[in-house]
Amino acid sequence: MKNTALTTTHEALGAKMVPFAGYNMPVQYDGVNIEHETVRQAVGVFDVSHMGEFLIEGPNALALIQKVSSNDATKLTIGKAQYSYLPNDNGGVVDDLIIYKIKEETYLLVVNASNIEKDWNWITSKNDVGAIMRDLSEDYSLLAIQGPKAIEAMQPLTSHDLSAIKFYNFEVGDFAGIENVIISATGYTGSGGFEIYCKNSEAKQIWDKVVEAGAKPIGLAARDTLRLEMGYCLYGNDIDDTTSPLEAGLGWVTKFTKTFTNSEALQAEKTNGLTNKLVAFTLDERGIPRHGYDIVDADGQKIGVVTSGTMSPSLGIGIGLGYVPKDFAAVDGKIHIQIRKKAIPATVVKLPFYKG
């Protein structure tokens, strides 16, 4: 099992550690509900250094990225980031990722920890254009500083005007006494804030200063409840090698104005109409939906599967995502979630669950 640069720091804080994607990661410190609340109301910091980072460089870097990713990376200018995914050849998704344009001919791809090796091999296999690829995953740390008070609390740590960095933009500069870190206005919580990319040797100093400035440590359990309240997809739960990105609602980052891996088949799928849809639902009665539970109709017939579910800490009700036939996908539609022996009624809703 791998450690991040901060594993001993988490252990010293009394975090409960769990294996996640091959890394020894903090799942919680004080409790998932209080940590969730901290990010919704104040500011928290997550060690998400298990995430993978690939640098793609050279005159053909963009050509390779355009080929393997679904979104249009020609729209990126220096200092901008873009959410995208890597389609596979069979209608599924290799991974979802964020692509940063660092400078001309230099892009940073941030991928899921569980997929680092798969993504590397996949992109390498498509690299017949001679782009230069470097895997920085083992060398870089990532701290997510998230919450409505993130800007105010972190401003003293940098000479950059944090309030001026727009969503999905980034700057490279000083932070917590370290030069040349990426300060990115991105995140996976829906509560605003930043993600800081730095070298492993710099992570401890940055973590300490961020905590000193008022951010509370937050574990992966709250990361999951926070992202689910926004309806953000989690690779391995809501999307995977077999799920259609279009059915998953990733059409907004699927740009048919260019050709890319499997784009013809995806275009045809879109034209022919989708069979299923990933929907968001809330339970009408007490209960908690979980990954893998059946979704059934009013007669108890199975119509789909829950891909993510939890008790929403902000709303105090059971919330989830799952695939259903499109006839059941309309907002306000009624479905049922099979929880043990009972089919609990649920309502299809619009995302996000949590509206701040």
Partner: protein
């Protein structure tokens, strides 16, 4: 870790308090701490007569679901309905306010299968 000496325990991390032919059952301090924030306790077996080790309910934390196993055969005569609205009491007060069910147990010989506080401490390495 709080493990009261007057209670009996099971390997499934439940505590049992015997009063006459009635046993009160909950989960241990260790169990609630491992589960994390408890958000739902579901018991729909009141008035049913079940066997030792049968599932009598479910406790759900934010991240996990765990079955609750009956420590003694008998009739489930009461569920702590306060937990429906305040399941977090299982975290804050596992041995008093967080009790889950009362059983009218039918086979006193099964009491021998329960663990002492010392046995339970050894089980969890406390």
């Amino acid at each position: 870790m709080n493990i009261p000496s007057e209670l009996k325990y099971t390997k499934d991390h439940e505590w049992v308090k015997i009063e006459g032919d009635v046993a009160t059952v909950g989960i241990t301090d260790f169990a609630q701490s491992e589960l994390g924030d408890i958000v739902y306790v579901e018991v729909e077996t009141v008035d049913e007569t079940l066997n030792i080790e049968d599932v009598f309910g479910t406790v759900e934390a934010v991240k996990t679901v765990s079955d609750l196993f009956l420590p003694l055969s008998g009739e489930i005569i009461e569920f702590n309905e306060g937990l429906e609205d305040e399941p977090e009491v299982v975290n804050s007060d596992p041995y008093e306010g967080g009790w889950m069910i009362k059983i009218k147990f039918s086979n006193p010989e099964e009491l021998e299968t329960l663990l002492s506080d010392a046995d339970y401490k050894a089980l969890i390495g406390a």
